[in-house]
């Protein structure tokens, strides 16, 4: 039976009428038309769908939309600050951390969660954290560099926030 879910989405009150089987990512993409969150697999392994729920990164393809009742959801669309790229997004751009860009929203949402827990991560800490984010294009080198640079910009810059 379709039910109404209400939650906070990128800082604003939001809601949708969904079936119990609707996945969080389906609600975001299809009901709310936020297509920045991607689906890259059906085995919960690729991380293209990573969003934040109540402040932690989760795979939105492996959570039900109804489970976000009352939750605080943040997607890639809520990361830019007043129309300006977030320092982490800028770092991905500057360090050429993407080719096709399909994995990028998930990478950035995952990276922001890492930096929140560990503001100055080492190369190997970044690589370990990205265990659940697959990139089929870049070979990861520039993604790791971008996250290092993004983390530094967040530590020192005035736009720092997650």
């Amino acid at each position: 039976m379709p039910t109404k879910v209400t939650f906070t989405l990128n800082g604003e009150a939001a809601g949708a009428t969904v079936e119990p089987r609707t996945l969080l990512v389906e609600m975001l993409r299809e009901n709310l038309r936020l297509t920045g969150t991607h689906v890259g697999c059906d085995t919960s392994q690729c991380g293209a769908c990573v969003v934040h729920v109540d402040g932690v990164s989760v795979k939105s393809c492996t959570m039900l939309a109804v489970q976000t009742e009352g939750a605080d959801v943040r997607t890639i669309e809520g990361v830019a600050i007043k129309g300006e790229l977030h320092p982490m997004q800028r770092a991905f751009h500057e360090h050429h951390a993407l080719q096709c860009g399909f994995c990028t929203p998930g990478m950035i949402m995952s990276a922001l969660d890492l930096v929140k827990q560990n503001p100055d991560p080492t190369d190997s800490e970044i690589r370990a954290w990205l265990e659940g984010n697959f990139c089929r294009c870049t070979g990861y080198q520039n993604i790791v560099r971008a996250i290092e640079a993004g983390a530094e910009a967040m530590r020192t810059g005035d736009l720092a926030r997650v």
Partner: protein, 272 residues
Amino acid sequence: MYNFNYHRPTTLAEAKQLLAENDEAKFIAGGMTLLPTMKMRLASPSDLIDLSQIEVLSGIRDTGNAIEIGAMTRHAEVAASDLVRAGIPVLAELAGQIGDAQVRHRGTLGGSIANSDPAADYPAAILSLDAVITTDQREIAADDFFLGMFETALAVDEVIISVTFPKCARAAYAKFPNPASRYAVVGVMLADTAVGLRVAVTGAGPCAYRETDIESALQASCTVDAISEIAVDSAELNSDMHASADYRAHLVVVMARRAVLQLASVEPRVSA
């Protein structure tokens, strides 16, 4: 995914009632196994009963001689818990090696052991640390819990409330992870417990089990040399696209040797 009814009870009694009323109902904890299975249409419950709002199922407590962990406690909470890191450091390390960060944010201890996936990490800890599983009906000893592939001693209407892990002098876990999923191709945990040295293997067989040959060799002498010549029988071990049974048998000894080396570097805990 086939459709179902979704319930979010706040008490255990309510959850049990919902289960009793609906023939094909299932509990959902972190959903990290159940939802992918439902997406593949390998499971099609009529009802999902979400355990996340039931308070008695979460939390970590130090009871002096043991650490008690609620069934709904997420892997990331166990990995980061000061109580676990101080009382049973190997358990926090093991939880921190499960899957990836996003799996650890959702996946739970109860869901992991209820599922008895042959490649799951927690079962190795349950068996080697001689943990006790508390359900709404009884206490189940570690050695009686895992019965086979995806099969446990739990009755269909039984809910895991918590798991009690006795503190031990020292323990070590060596895991050979699958590079894509991080599930254990083979994982071996050694623990120097009150009832002697216990060796548990996950990933290799249909479910986690105690490797008694390695256990008795290490009880006699806890050295790499003591087990180097042991040949594990591969007849009952798993063979799949990730590894053959023979390779898994070989890995059991290799991981056991790595765990022995790690154990030697662990400072023994002095019991209070």
